[in-house]
């Protein structure tokens, strides 16, 4: 077994660990919902503060920092009984990340270059960044509820990478022999990882918002008009959503991550243009990859504008994140696999 094979084994191990983590995150979310459903279990010091930040949030973090002379009181997130499932989820996900990291390192050593030069490797690095971002975020805020979506997406992506995109580790063709491979591709992959997390936050924001609106509708006295078409999200099946922070907090979380992702994407496009100038003799040539990178940039730019436009912030802006992420995925899959262009580096 050489280094390349060992790397693959580790990535398979990471995928397995993530899969276990995903299941545990899902169980945790279901349990959380049960607990939220039983008011008796909601033992917190101050109900008004708890309502503002059920699972922590901006103030909670601020409060935790000012531990000596609290400016704000925080409702400790774990006053509720210990969440065993989420502990398992976090542990296995962290273990998976360790496997994943070592796997990438060995892959780089086996190929004698940075481990991001074909689709299998882009996926492996992008998912690594997504999980790492998620785990770093959990140190900063309790966003473990994002685990189900983020780790779930990562399991699917890694599964695809190992089965469909996989190629053996080897060197790269002359067009890729540039330090821009290190910079441009790494930043692009990192941005994709970040945008995956912000996608998860925005998707949850929309679901949560729909549930709240649906419940508010059915709680109204004149609910019989709406009863004809009851919102499915307001039903008990989706009560896991009750455990999530308010849509406004999810929106803020998504925005922060998207903002970083957008800046990195801007850098990606620029670095790509500089590299194209070096390698192909033009900085911009409307190659399919360039077209879609442009589309991604424009959609996220539209999102940033939507947030500050009357009547477009909140729900509507969140849809832009969903559309934006769809274009990111299209840029990665459709363009690499089906469109002919200069970015034909899938290795497939």
């Amino acid at each position: 077994m050489d280094l390349g094979d060992l790397s693959t084994v580790l990535v398979v191990g990471a995928t397995t660990a993530y899969a276990i983590g995903f299941v545990a995150f899902a169980i945790d979310l279901a349990h959380l919902a049960d607990r939220v459903g039983r008011p008796a279990a909601r033992r917190v010091h101050d109900a008004s503060v708890a309502a503002a930040s059920v699972v922590g949030g901006a103030r909670a973090a601020g409060g935790a920092r000012a531990a000596g002379g609290d400016i704000l009181v925080e409702a400790p997130a774990d006053v509720v009984p210990r969440r065993k499932a989420v502990g398992i989820a976090m542990a296995t996900t962290t273990l998976g990340l360790a496997f994943h990291g070592v796997g990438l390192l060995l892959r780089g050593l086996a190929a004698g270059r940075v481990p991001w030069a074909n689709m299998y490797e882009f996926t492996a690095v992008g998912t690594f960044v997504a999980v790492a971002t998620f785990l770093v975020l959990t140190r900063w805020r309790d966003v473990r509820f994002l685990g189900t979506i983020v780790v779930g997406l990562v399991v699917v992506a890694l599964g695809l990478a190992l089965t469909v995109f996989y190629v053996a580790a080897e060197g790269v063709q002359p067009a890729l022999q540039s330090y821009w491979l290190v910079i441009h591709v790494f930043i692009a992959t990192t941005a994709t990882g970040l945008l995956t997390v912000s996608f998860a936050a925005s998707a949850l924001q929309l679901l949560k918002d729909s549930r709240e609106q649906g419940m508010a509708r059915s709680a109204r006295p004149d609910a019989d008009a709406d009863a004809a078409r009851p919102s499915r999200l307001a039903g008990p099946r989706w009560r896991a959503l009750d455990a999530l922070p308010a849509p406004r907090e999810l929106e803020a979380l998504s925005f922060r991550i998207t903002a970083v992702g957008f800046v990195l994407w801007t850098f990606t496009v620029m670095a790509g243009a500089i590299w194209a100038e070096h390698a192909w003799g033009r900085y911009w040539g409307w190659d399919p990859k360039e077209v879609w990178s442009f589309v991604v940039w424009v959609v996220y730019a539209a999102y940033l504008h939507a947030r500050t436009t009357a009547g477009w912030s909140g729900r509507r802006a969140a849809w832009f994140v969903l559309v934006g992420y769809a274009t990111v995925i299209a840029n990665f899959t459709l363009v690499n696999l089906f469109f002919s262009g200069l970015h034909a580096y899938s290795g497939l």
Partner: protein, 537 residues
């Protein structure tokens, strides 16, 4: 923070729900308001994303004219309509241009008033302290022994930071009717500055790109080992100049190709390409240089890129009379990863009989099987030429320019064997073979390599890079600069000073509480402090 939201939205022009008194001026003003509104900008952005997509789905003329031709041939009915709508050159089409130009007009219409607004904001004082602090989420109180004036000095220092030229907070003091001293501080003006820089840099970027398009030129040249070319319009195989390009501006340098080396793995994956050249600039010494993929050569304001390579078999063709009718290296264009290369040798200058056209393939590492010959590796380990011969009129005298890599067979007929199938000749290096039909002989003398060089001059590159960096810097500053306001109210009581404070941020701001804490800590750190008023509310 509702009022902050409103601040942000003040940027958006309110569109009047009732139609204005319609006159030409009124209508124009209404259109202008619409165009510069955020909502229309948003729609134009989404529209820009949508109209960019067809260019990645359909073949595009500037990138791949051959694919467009194939598409038109395959879809005769639909293709014509797509062509009329400009879908084979999306990024130069009227509708694509209309969207981005409208977007830029909207951008300018939006950003210019904001510059004026921001200029005023930069000179304005921070907003006065609100009467009541209890509506703010982040607030604190301290009671200190120091007199109020001293506290103000300490707080101002803590808020403004060490840099006088670029204070962290802008601080203003006031005196209320009750006798209480107030202090208002605001930071985050750079946010809007960054925003304006970002948008102006985008305009600059567009202008720089357009300028580059007008002044640029690019040309392609195929150069065989041992030969060279001069930077002159006539020496290029293809040449495109911008509308404002003057042919006299070409610097007459020459580039000679001394050697080209290519390295491949056993699986035919390319590892390295290097073109060793000699460059002569006017009035300068000849100097050697190496051009690699990703490492263009800079000479005379031009960048020279290595875009392709292949083999150019050096052949001598003698006609039926034994006279040399053609001698030279003929580039054969690689068709696949193992460099199965196709080429045409046109022999018009025969001393007797028909003109000759020779078409065929060069196989760098040929493996001959009963099914035919094929190349298995791009290196010339066992090269073979497999050719068929045409005779007749090459059509070179008609004056219509011809593609040197294609044979126009309208006036020609293929030389066939007794069974009626085309006669194929197979040549090894150094061999001389008879051409079928008694047309003469062909000698393969050697196999020099050729490189396809792409030369490009764009004087706007520096400006484009500069504006792009400004875009990135402006964007980063505008997204990550926090906007915060801090107010202090100081009331003297019993010889002690009670300091009430409140902080407000735009949007969700994790660092707000920490910022207030920092200022209050500085105030409390004065001698004679009293922590009795310290603590959470």
């Amino acid at each position: 923070m509702p009022q902050d939201r409103v601040d942000e939205m003040a940027l958006e022009e309110a569109t009047t729900p009732t139609l204005p008194q319609l006159g030409a001026v009124g209508a124009l003003r209404w259109v202008w308001r619409q165009l510069t509104s955020m909502r229309v900008a948003l729609m134009l952005l989404m529209l820009l994303a949508v109209v960019a997509v067809p260019g990645s789905v359909l073949p595009q003329r500037p990138q791949d004219p051959a694919d467009v031709a194939t598409y038109l041939a395959d879809n005769p009915g639909l293709g014509v309509w797509l062509d009329r709508l400009g879908l084979f050159d999306v990024y130069a089409s009227v509708w694509f241009s209309a969207v981005y130009l409208l977007l830029f007009v909207s951008l300018i219409g939006c950003i210019v008033p904001r510059i004026a607004l921001h200029g005023r904001a930069l000179r304005a004082r921070p907003p006065r302290a609100p009467r009541r602090f209890d509506r703010f989420g982040v607030r604190d109180q301290a009671v200190v022994e120091a007199p109020a004036t001293e506290v103000v000095a300490v707080a101002t220092r803590a808020l403004a930071g060490p840099l006088r030229a670029l204070p962290r907070f802008r601080v203003d003091t006031g005196l209320e009717d009750s006798g209480a001293l107030t202090l208002s501080a605001e930071r985050g003006y750079l946010r809007e500055s960054g925003n304006i820089v970002f948008h102006l840099a985008l305009v600059g970027l567009l202008v720089a790109i357009a300028t580059g398009q007008m002044l640029h030129y690019r040309g392609q040249a195929i150069v065989v080992e041992g030969r060279g070319f001069a930077n002159a319009v006539t020496d290029y195989d293809t040449f495109v100049g911008g509308t404002a390009f003057a042919p006299g501006s070409l610097v007459p340098f020459t580039v000679g190709l001394d050697r080209f080396t290519a390295e491949f793995t056993a699986e035919a994956r390319p590892v390295d390409f290097a073109a060793e050249v000699t460059v002569r600039e006017p009035g300068g010494q000849a100097r050697p240089a190496v051009i690699r993929v990703n490492h263009p050569l800079s000479v005379g304001g031009v960048k020279v890129y290595l875009q392709g390579n292949g083999y150019a078999p050096d052949v001598v063709v003698r006609d039926a009379a034994g006279e040399v009718a053609f001698a030279g290296a003929v580039p054969f264009l690689p068709q696949d990863a193992v460099y199965t290369s196709r080429g045409v040798i046109k022999v018009p200058d025969v001393s007797t009989g028909d003109q000759i056209g020779i078409v065929g393939f060069l196989l760098p590492t040929a493996v001959v099987t009963p099914a035919g010959a094929a190349s298995v590796h791009p290196q010339p380990d066992a090269p073979l030429l497999v050719l068929t011969v045409w005779r007749g009129d090459l059509g070179l005298d008609t004056g219509v320019p011809q593609n040197v890599y294609e044979l126009d067979v309208t006036g020609m007929e293929q030389v066939v064997g007794a069974d009626g199938t085309p006669t194929t000749i197979v040549v090894e290096p150094g061999q001389t073979v008879d051409l079928p039909g008694g047309l003469g002989t062909l000698t393969w003398q050697g196999t020099p390599r050729f490189v396809a060089l792409d030369l490009r001059h764009d004087p706007a590159l520096g400006a484009i890079l500069g504006f792009a960096l400004a875009v990135l810097a402006g964007l980063t500053v505008s997204l990550f600069t926090p906007r915060r306001r801090i107010w202090l109210r100081l009331t003297e009581n019993d010889g002690r000073t009670v300091v009430d404070s409140a902080a407000l941020a735009r949007g969700d701001d994790l660092g707000l509480a920490g910022e207030l804490e920092r200022v209050m800590d500085a105030i409390r750190a004065r001698p004679g402090e009293d922590r009795s008023g310290d603590g959470p509310r």
